[in-house]
Symmetry: D2
Subunit: 338 residues, 4 copies
């Protein structure tokens, strides 16, 4: 059960609620986010929620049978919008394309890619400066200096930034230069990182684990939400299976399932989801018609020379083809749907 409280209820009004809960032996977790005040209640026996709904301090009350609570669509039917300012909004009924290189490599690289984004009217740039790498001997990213450089160029063109954060101590220094923090597939269940991201007021996009279940992804989002941050985005990036003909198995089923189970926006990552350049376009378009609210794709002017993930980076030519087709489907298909 989720109880949403009025922001300015009096102590007396609140006492009435607490009394009722104690009387019914209902345990609660109190949660204050950027904009709301909730009690998440673990209800173990039958209980008539109308008793609570009538109290003065209660704005809303809902049963939630899912194991995750605040991110569940059982409670909040209206889809969550993520407003990044300057008119950039990630939301249901639209399809937000984010693009950029796997790793930020140099000022020249960022310049060329930003220019391409501007040309294609793309408003959010991706680019890793802290790179999780299987081997300790691989390139691990340019770090905070790379991020500042990226920021300088993006701001000049009103482009928002999404980039991966790997550990708690990076959050503060990155915060001024980031519009969306990304939690990578290897950190989906790094619970301390999730807790810490719950304490800031910045959007967070959380990727599904490498073999994570849909339920685990939602539970991880619940960690952040219950620590105080409602600005969440879910990301499907493919799962690990026995198939070796491509990099990961993009789980197209997860798109409608996540949209059904949660009110949070869902973004597809087809670059990791198939991992083969020439097929990224098809998987992106498939995500769109399956109900995703956007996609994040890797691009590079010379994919074969990228520091990382070259085999899955779109060339500029491939990227333009993708943008064109996305626009057609948004225009024709999404408008028909809504």
């Amino acid at each position: 059960m989720i109880i949403q409280l009025h922001k300015n209820c009096t102590a007396k009004e609140r006492n009435a609620l607490d009394y009722l809960l104690v009387q019914n032996k209902i345990k609660t977790v109190e949660i204050n986010t950027q904009s709301n005040h909730y009690l998440v209640c673990i209800v173990t026996k039958e209980f008539d929620i109308r008793h609570i709904g009538n109290l003065a301090c209660v704005k809303d009350v809902h049963r939630v049978t899912d194991s995750y609570k605040l991110v569940s669509r059982q409670w909040k039917v209206n889809p969550t919008k993520i407003d990044l300012g300057d008119g950039v909004v990630i939301q249901e009924g639209d399809f937000t394309l984010m693009a950029g290189p796997c790793s930020i490599e140099s000022e020249a690289q960022v310049e060329r890619i930003v220019k391409e984004l501007v040309k294609n009217n793309i408003k959010i740039m991706r680019g890793g400066v802290y790179k999780p790498r299987s081997s300790p001997y691989s390139f691990r990213g340019l770090g905070i200096d790379g991020l500042k450089m990226l920021y300088a160029q993006c701001r000049a063109h009103s482009i928002k930034i999404i980039t991966e954060v790997m550990q708690v101590t990076q959050i503060r220094e990155m915060s001024d230069y980031v519009d969306i923090f990304q939690v990578g597939a290897r950190n989906t269940q790094n619970f301390n990182l999730l807790d810490a991201l719950g304490e800031i007021d910045k959007p967070v996009m959380i990727k599904r684990g490498i073999s994570g279940t849909i339920d685990e992804l939602l539970q991880s989002a619940e960690y952040i939400f219950s620590a105080g941050n409602e600005k969440l985005i879910l990301c499907e990036r493919g799962i690990r299976t026995f198939e070796n003909a491509y990099r990961n198995t993009f789980d197209i089923n997860a798109i409608p399932i996540l949209k059904e189970k949660s009110h949070l926006p869902v973004i597809a990552d087809p670059s990791h989801g198939i991992g083969i350049r020439k097929h990224v376009e098809k998987i992106t378009l498939a995500s769109l018609v399956a109900g995703a609210d956007g996609a994040i794709v890797e691009i590079h002017y010379e994919p074969e020379k990228a520091y990382s993930d070259g085999q899955q980076n779109l060339s500029f030519e491939e990227f333009r083809s993708l943008v064109k087709k996305v626009n057609v489907l948004v225009e024709l298909f999404l408008k028909m749907e809504s």
Copy 2:
């Protein structure tokens, strides 16, 4: 290496080829299909194929490095068309929808569903009469009598029939009443069945195994082709993974990969691919934009009363919505693509 021979080459011409092959110690498998005559050659050392290309009996010669040969797109770049007669053709650039119940249950059931197909201009009906069931105590289908009844009603409305064959001894008795034989996921590597289906002149749709690789699916198609039957269709129906939020994981990646690797048409089975009624539409549309040449879906007027797979059967209302959207995407999207 695949050598395609002229149908009417003389013994002398053929001898010249055989001599060259023997001289170069190239082992061959000779294959006669409905319409062509091939030699599949296992080449183990460097060899200049132009020596062969110039011979009188040779229509065409190609190197094929894939483990499968005749079904590979390395050899045959033009996509294969499956012509069922009466203008019903499964082919690239179009999207053929096949629909029907999981199991054929009764004359009344078939009548109602056929009527619905006619209304929606669907030309191919699915419906199982031999049902592979995990438990020996489950309903195993109406058998040959059910098929004859299905045939009578479909022919009256010029509707083609696709249905599953489970064993070699069923082929002959089913043959007059079937337009496409379906090989189920549990029989993808039933090699004797594949051999036998290679000896007939009817289209065969072969489903990917329950945890079968893409390569295994193509090798299984190669079995049928190499036994003499070129009229083949590949079907992606979802794979088994750790995820329990739905029935199978529909492998959307397999669609562009199969289209790249093979010249055979690729059909999606979203009903088994996700196994949840309300999401079948989205997965079907995703397959379309990902490049599938069609889809096969389960429908029933009362899904909850179906003998089998009720949870994944579309109601008629859901089906009409699907048909409408497929038509829009075929019109707007596929025409843009081609």
Copy 3:
């Protein structure tokens, strides 16, 4: 619910039972095996089984809540023994080692391997004459002639034969030369083959499917049993996962789980279960202490020259080491256990 009937009950006694079942609307499937007569009942409402237990024709009656019935240990607590004659018995509390080449290749090959088996006191020889191969162009085995040759040599040394049957039409011709029919991993859900093997009076060893669940394996065994053949053996041979450091993932957990859920003997196949020669011994020994009733291993005097599966065939030297250690563990460990 399983009702075991006395073999010679009178019509009147039987009528009393049928009357009670009809009155209680209990549907039954009647099963006659080599040695017993059962009714498998699908009970959908509460029912006091003592009413049945007291009837004259009823030998025994048990509730079984598993989806499989006759192979369940809920019904039959005592483990099933498979008696092959001449003192060769597969049974709980012992560890039966079966060995031989992947494929039967030649008379000379069989001769050398039989000799090795005799030396090591191995009583059951494996060896494929019908080989399921992913590619139609691979070696498919010597067929019935190979089997007859194998038989001649084995009988001369009182060695029993286990070999794979791939299709219904092979059963009759193979039957005189086979002591245990093996159903391969690709045929675990070839339900027509299972039905047919239920109609003969020869032991059948059924392998778990390539990504088959434990429940599916037991249901497949139920197919054979319910068609009339109680002489069944279960085989764990590894499952397909994402791991590529070896061939299959040997599911050691399946050993105690199968022994708990079923009364049938359980055999390990470590050769396919790990697929790497030097590690086959360790996996075999692990199976023994985990509770397997035996193992089937591939051996060859020149593994690198074997027609198939050379990388997982034990050399004779490795095989002798294995036999020695198995004997030590049987002597010291199994005796301690029992």
Copy 4:
């Protein structure tokens, strides 16, 4: 290539080496651990390592073709011993049993379990105080106070402690009370945590990821080693598959494979590996004969009342049976092996 340097080589001797490396364009990473000094070299072209082996400052030099280097057995053939002091050593040829509750719950709980360990001559206790939980609303452990309490009781009985560390900031405060830091399956690729654990001088046991490959586990160990800490232990705890008859699929194959590929000791975690109490014993024994150097098991005096993982905790009675059988196999089997 790994170059092991003498600890006290002169600047001149070192210059000679560096000169040779630069001349041959070999990039190096310099690594100082508790006891050794290495250069890990990425060699991209043919190079005769004898040129290096003869230099004064070089103790040893080896080619390593694996993607991981310092943890590879290609370089160091002798198995690594982990000496915890007071005669407690984890090493090849022995089988170290570690046991304790899933979570540390109370002083009384620890007291009863310590007593049981003493009785059974177990020298290492497990017990979580920081618990990674899928849901933010689950019990997350007693934290540092729980650890201090555990420490007080264990030290009184000369019992060593292994417990999970979840984030970098916990390392310092935990360090005085911990003998082995455990990295959990959800943190196997938390690279910042791995880096930080490389900077301390305490043994670390690293668990394989939930669907982590064997190669990834070794690469993660390489992170810690290359950051300066050689005292490493690998742990197989089961992987996620499609099978639902138990919790995880214990990968018995991983035991001999890890022992072959790395010189580090390998510990089995059968409690998580199968997750069903009554089968934990069999999986533990299987690990032993498959070559594991020890096992870590969960025990509780009242498993059904444990705060977490009750279904997989051994009762004291089950634990004693396990200890007895382990001792028999160590005595009879391991001595035969060595």
